[in-house]
């Protein structure tokens, strides 16, 4: 298993190099530069050249990329072109923990709601509970974040006034880099965005758990367990459950990616100061280094998520062996 993980990490390095190169070239190819305007007016030509020289933007692209890589290996993600006080490391430190919290809480909510619902629907198969749960699950998957976000804001924020409608409840730095503080302000701010992303995830997880458990419960070894006289609860929890989660595990990779990209939109809607919002904002201002570094951070998150999913898949299904 460790050899597998190490090999995956080693394979990921050229992948990240290629992603960095592609993104760097793509953002540099965008017409216009970061220093074209100052306020509403155009930047004077000689000052623009000075600024570009200061940040190394007048050099050939391969030299720029080489310098960027060199800095990257030393832990410096690059300078911010339009801000004189922060550089990219500061921006990442401000926004990344928030995005992690949002993503992890949504996935957690997805599993906390999704798995018990799926189990219940499967155990009470073909009953009213099952039909209701399936209907709610498909509904949850079908309502996009784009619609659910404003809807939740409207119902709970504007009409009922129970929950705040914007911003995240706490600012970095957090303990252990991403653990949330246990204040009521944090949780009231966190409810709506997490629900906006989490309900979609929980709907998908619930459907898969139900389908997996139904398939497992029809297997012969479950019949053996029952005929041995085991209580139904023991049959389900000891024998059926772990195997029924395998379809869920296969979809965890895309699920993870979905949580990451879903948070992009929810951050826009709820004005949360996370990585996605910064990303979209800095496209217009042509923040070359910020964009490349954030894309790299996203892909690191995706790669780690994929590796974790494969490890968990191997744990769930002992027949799988990665050599």
């Amino acid at each position: 298993m460790t050899k597998f993980i190490i090999r995956r990490i080693l394979v990921a390095i050229p992948v990240m190099f290629a992603i960095a190169l592609a993104t760097f070239l793509l953002v540099q190819a965008l017409p216009g530069g970061p220093f074209d305007t100052v306020g509403q007016k155009a930047m004077p030509e000689h000052i623009r050249e000075l600024l570009e020289r200061r940040y190394g933007l007048d050099q050939p692209i391969y030299v720029q990329f080489f310098n960027y890589l060199g800095n990257l290996l030393q832990g410096d993600l690059g300078p911010m072109l339009r801000s004189s006080t922060d550089d990219v490391n500061d921006i990442v430190a401000q926004t990344f923990p928030v995005s992690i919290q949002l993503g992890l809480l949504s996935i957690l909510l997805g599993f906390i709601i999704g798995i018990p619902t799926g189990i219940l629907a499967a155990l009470k198969h073909n009953s009213v509970v099952d039909s209701a749960a399936t209907l709610i699950a498909v509904l949850g998957v079908s309502i996009p974040n784009l619609v659910l976000g404003p809807l939740l804001i409207l119902i709970f924020g504007v009409w009922l006034g129970w929950l705040p409608i914007a911003f995240w409840g706490a600012d970095p730095p957090f303990t252990l880099y991403f653990l949330p503080p246990l204040t009521s302000q944090f949780w009231t701010h966190a409810v709506l965005p997490v629900f906006a992303i989490g309900t979609g995830i929980s709907a998908g997880v619930s459907r898969l758990t139900r389908a997996g458990l139904l398939e497992v419960l029809a297997e012969d070894y479950i019949r053996t367990a029952r005929s041995k006289g085991l209580r139904e609860r023991a049959v389900v929890s000891v024998h059926a459950l772990k195997n029924s989660l395998i379809p869920v595990a296969t979809v965890m990779g895309p699920l993870f990616a979905g949580a990451v990209t879903g948070s992009l939109i929810v951050e826009q809607i709820f004005a949360i100061n996370g990585m996605g919002r910064r990303y979209i904002q800095s496209i217009g201002s042509r923040e070359y280094f910020l964009l490349t570094s954030l894309t790299l951070v996203y892909s690191v998150v995706l790669i780690i998520g994929n590796i974790a999913v494969d490890v968990m898949y191997a744990w769930l299904d002992p027949r799988i062996r990665y050599d």
């Binding site: 498909v138 990209t261 992009l264």
Partner: protein, 347 residues
Amino acid sequence: MTAQAAAKGKPVDLLVDSKSRSPFENAWREFRRNRLAVVGAAIVILTVIVAFIAPLITPYNFYTQNTRENRAKPMTGYNISETHAELCTWYGTPLEWGCTVYLAGSDALGRDLYSRMIFGTRVSLAVAFVGSTVALVVGIILGTISGYFGGRVDNLIMRLVDFLYAIPLLPIIILMQVYFQALARQGVREGIAGVLIQMNQSMGGLLFLFIAIGILNWIGMARLARGQVLSYKHKEFIEAAESVGSSQSRIIFKHLLPNIFGPLLIAETLAIPAYIFTEAILSFIGLGVNPPIPSWGSMINDGYAGLRSNPHLVLVPGLALTFLTLAFNFMGDGLRDAFDPKMRGRI
């Protein structure tokens, strides 16, 4: 059928169902039993019809502005001038009342929301069908090549797929869209880029959207196709075909593809809601189709600022989006359950 045969006193060797059914007929029967799936399919077909006949069922065109009646609530009537009434396609017909009532309200520029919603089905359906077709075709081609020929080609393609799996899709799609749109704004006219940009502008900004969505979504389809080909490659009938001397292309096209096409089509149908979402998200950020062509995502974006006082600006396109994705989800689920032999007889 057998009970009827027994009741009529017919001989009992009719216990075997004498009508032979093809797998498609079996699947169609299963599909019909699933009411939700039938409803979903009906809604999808209805939406396609609506997209085609959109000019007939809408009082206004999607770009007709009436800035004095902006942000009207749904079902509010108003007095319109003669000149403005002539812009209404129902003017002079028995449906003329439709020109004086905003069925779903109007947006910030006074454009009829109901008409924009109907015309928005065109964009969403175009993305759904064209995007999924591109992903299906590219994925099947690469997956079949990879699975059938194996060896180095397989390795290469699978490396490419693994590489693409690590790419964060949405940020890259956003960057690509910005790049294409910036090129278009510059008015580039020479070379391949110029031709593409011309085509894109004539399609209202849809072409690059298709390219972006199709390029980055064929991966799942390729993996599926490869898996299917691998599982069929060692079956006896393929071996028989090879031993009779069938050429490789004959084996692929006549034996492999018809067998693997079914599950792939179903998987692609299940992925269509994701394409609709992606287009809505891109339009929400402002990187989708060019205005004034209505897309539900851009309508939500326009209406979002007035959420408190005019929720209908967001709810009308939002509900439309939800219904379409719901329909595709039901239909896709029903198709998958109908073709899955293990689910036969179980809902």
